[in-house]
Amino acid sequence: MIWQFDLIILVFLVITAIISLQVKDLLAASMIYGVYSFLMCLLWAGMAAVDVAFTEAAVGAGVSSVFLIATVFRTSRRSSD
């Protein structure tokens, strides 16, 4: 457990969560959700949960943002809120 890193990441997490929900452009929102997932992976790596961090790395970088982008591509990109 590296408390210096953890404190920084926890603050960043809240910031990215709020941004990704406030952005009106859904494409940007899904990419920023990717940043949220990167930070989560770092947090778990810092908490010594390597397998969880590995899963989050593979899922967050590889597939989850791609799924969101695919849906945004097939529906609409603008959001009203």
Partner: protein
């Protein structure tokens, strides 16, 4: 509506925060979760009982094998659900493709980079599956990475090119085979007279001691998980990106 949501969220948050005082301190080795007998047993005895250095893999595939098997089934069910929600089988489909027919301009730089990268991603995924016992990794992670390599094929070329490698029906067969591999290990153990998913008895059909039988069965189970996860990840992507028509991907 928004103010109502805000009020309810604030009340819920306040209730949860008022419970925070009862939690143990962060990183306390004597907290209830850490001093629980089962957790201690998993840390100290796993290596002696299964010969696997990575405790997470051992607990995942052996001690809690039942749980993991049905998590895999949940993933499989999610894939089936997406197909039944979204897939359209009519060939003259007007609904999905509002756009004009897309002519793909091949991009030389992206195509070349992806071509050089895809086999290495696949090799890395297999490495992750095979070395789940000694380093972080295992069926779930390796499966997702392997699925991502197929997604990369579909992105760098188009969906049809990826379908030439992994046709739709073969994908679903693979997903089913994965679960069958997993359940097969449990059933063989059951037929040999032990409980479902109790791998130690498999030394009767393997050239190994009971401890090694557990070690090797875990690898087999991880391979089954990897099959299912690979197939379902690719299936979800190909359905979502084409709105169920399996044509004109991203």
């Amino acid at each position: 509506m928004k103010s109502l949501a805000l009020i309810s969220v604030v009340i819920t948050g306040w209730l949860l925060l008022s419970a925070v005082g009862d939690f143990p301190y962060w990183g306390d080795p004597n907290s209830p979760a850490n001093s629980y007998r089962l957790s201690q047993h998993f840390v100290t005895e796993t290596f002696h009982e299964t010969a696997v250095p990575n405790m997470v893999t051992a607990v995942l595939a052996d001690y809690r094998g039942y749980d993991t098997m049905f998590e895999t089934v949940v993933i499989f069910t999610a894939g089936i659900a997406i197909i039944s929600i979204l897939r359209v089988f009519r060939s003259d489909d007007q609904v999905a493709s509002g756009q004009t027919v897309y002519e793909k301009r091949p991009d030389l730089i992206v195509d070349t980079t992806c071509r050089l990268m895809i086999p290495i991603i696949q090799l890395f995924a297999l490495y992750v599956i095979a070395h789940g016992h000694h380093s972080p990794g295992g069926g779930f992670q390796g499966g997702v990475i392997f699925g991502a390599s197929f997604i990369l094929i579909a992105l760098s070329r188009d969906l049809q090119a990826a379908h030439k490698w992994v046709p739709e029906n073969r994908v679903l067969n693979l997903a089913g085979i994965g679960i069958l591999i997993y359940a097969g290990f449990g059933l063989v153990a059951m037929f040999l007279g032990q409980n479902f998913l109790d791998y130690a008895i498999l030394h009767k059909v393997m050239p190994a001691t009971p401890i090694e039988a557990r070690y090797h069965s875990m690898l087999g189970v991880e391979i089954g998980v990897a099959f299912t996860v690979t197939a379902i990840m690719y299936s979800i992507y190909s359905n979502l990106v084409s709105k169920g028509t399996m044509k004109e991907g991203l």
